[in-house]
Symmetry: C2
Subunit: 305 residues, 2 copies
């Protein structure tokens, strides 16, 4: 099994729905905590309209802070989410290492989010990805609502494959499937990724699951078995909206790391230190985060056979 | 993939750690709710010392209630947990269909629970299982702490296999592995079950997981892939002790049914009705149960592609 990597997205997908604004200094502290734990692929934020998503208004400043001399360990990869050309420009100006961008497989979701059909959005995203690659940046293109949509329901797999085919034809081989609504189930996860790898065995696959129906880690396991290499997760399982009926947090980073380390994977991450940062996130928001390990404790240093 | 079956254990493993005693009439109501939802393998209780586990003091009465003429649908299987010969006698007298019994793979856990070493306990359990089979009853023998022990830590797989071998040599082919401490992780689950099926492809395998580290459904998925047929689960994810740091609820029945139905399995269960009963359990204990579907709602009747 190929080496897997955790892509921490809590500072972006975790925070963007929180009402309480996290000050820049606190974000810096959390990123430093993550780096100290050995996390080295971290999404610092997104480049979106600050009026629409105030929580992400300081993304440029956060990147700039770390791109200053000596503030960033060599080897660490800081990613940023961009929705359009303006975001890409901002990201290029402040030192983003890896640009994440994507389209929704659901036309309804796509139009609500971007005003564009999926078809139109794919063309735009490919052009942006190619521009970022030209600027010597890492990229990752995603397909949101790949496992089902809160508006449209089930999404035919053919729709996913047709987007994948356009990405591949454009020379883009870093592809993430995102379970925006949390509808994914393990058998579906395995079959979708297996089919993509059949189309191109060289593609580098990423996954992004929410734990809405309790299947977050089950879906990660299915993705792992299918050959997925990059696992997006959020500290503490952040991302659930506390003001709605449906708690839709991301897969919890420390729970995922814990389960992978039980199988001797991602051993370069110091779980105790990771949990310290997760605990601080919980303290900041003054509530119990949905993750399990923070409550149950870790088994990593428990007696081994 | 062979047909799978849910074995509802909430009335036993879910209730035994609850301080608030559930009256017999309420238990009857929940069993009726489960039957109405299509659940047809239900553990009604255990036959243990009523002074030690007051919640199970009325197990005989609960079985007797349903074994009265006309109170039990044909095809339904009511199981009971027995720890010793006295429990077996009580169960035979009140109409138990299926006897569940087991040993702990952890010597420490075994001695604390039964005063016997694992080795001694295996002999006793085999004799009891054979007596139950002679009485034309279904049986299921389990290995507790099969995936790790809260006292001993990791359990060498060889210890599991040596118990399995003794069960098989005694002609017992219904075997459950129980994750008493919640230590199981999916890769371990797959490898343990696969090895047992290699020893005897005719064995009927069951699993029993707790969701302590968030891996309950992931472990079920791994077990499903490995060929496990019987899945023990508890309504609402009951079983976590509200008075300890570690919440160790069972896999939640309605979450498991939901995830299996997404894959067109266990379609004979009416999930809406199952959720009604789970909701009533939550109302009785006057708290939110750990299951996800009760909070997020079901996707089963959501738009299909």
């Amino acid at each position: 099994m190929s080496e897997v990597k955790i892509h921490e997205v809590g500072l972006r997908d975790g925070l963007q729905i929180e009402k309480q604004i996290v000050p820049l200094e606190k974000k810096v502290e959390w990123v430093e905590g993550l780096l100290a734990s050995g996390s080295d692929m971290i999404q610092l934020g997104s480049f979106v309209n600050p009026e629409k998503v105030p929580q992400m208004a300081d993304s440029d400043k956060l990147f700039s802070h770390f791109t200053q001399a000596g503030k960033k360990p060599s080897g660490a990869i800081f990613s940023g989410l961009v929705l359009n050309e303006k975001g890409l420009e901002r990201g290029l100006a402040c030192g983003v290492d890896m640009f994440c961008m994507g389209v929704s497989a659901s036309d309804t979701h796509s139009r609500k989010n971007t005003g564009k059909s999926t078809e139109e959005a794919v063309g735009q995203i490919i052009a942006m990805a190619q521009a970022a690659m030209k600027a010597q940046k890492r990229i990752q293109v995603s397909i949101q609502s790949a496992f089902g949509c809160g508006f449209e329901g089930a999404i035919p797999q053919e729709r996913i494959f047709s987007i994948v085919d356009r990405y591949l034809a454009a020379g883009i081989r870093n592809i993430s499937l995102a379970d925006t609504a949390g509808h994914a189930y393990p058998q579906q996860v395995e079959s979708l990724y297996a089919e993509i790898l059949q189309r191109d065995s060289q593609v580098e696959l990423a996954c992004h699951f929410h734990n809405t129906y309790g299947l977050g880690l089950a879906n990660c396991y299915a993705a792992l078995k299918a050959g997925v290499k990059y696992f997006e997760a959020a500290l503490g399982g952040l991302g659930g909206c506390p003001f709605t009926k449906v708690a839709a947090g991301n897969v919890c980073t420390e729970d995922l790391v814990h389960s992978l380390q039980r199988q001797d994977m991602v051993l370069d991450i110091n779980l105790d230190k990771l949990m310290e940062t997760a605990r601080d996130v919980g303290s900041f928001f003054n509530r119990d985060l949905p993750g399990s390990i923070l409550k149950a404790g870790s088994l990593i240093n428990f007696k081994k056979a």
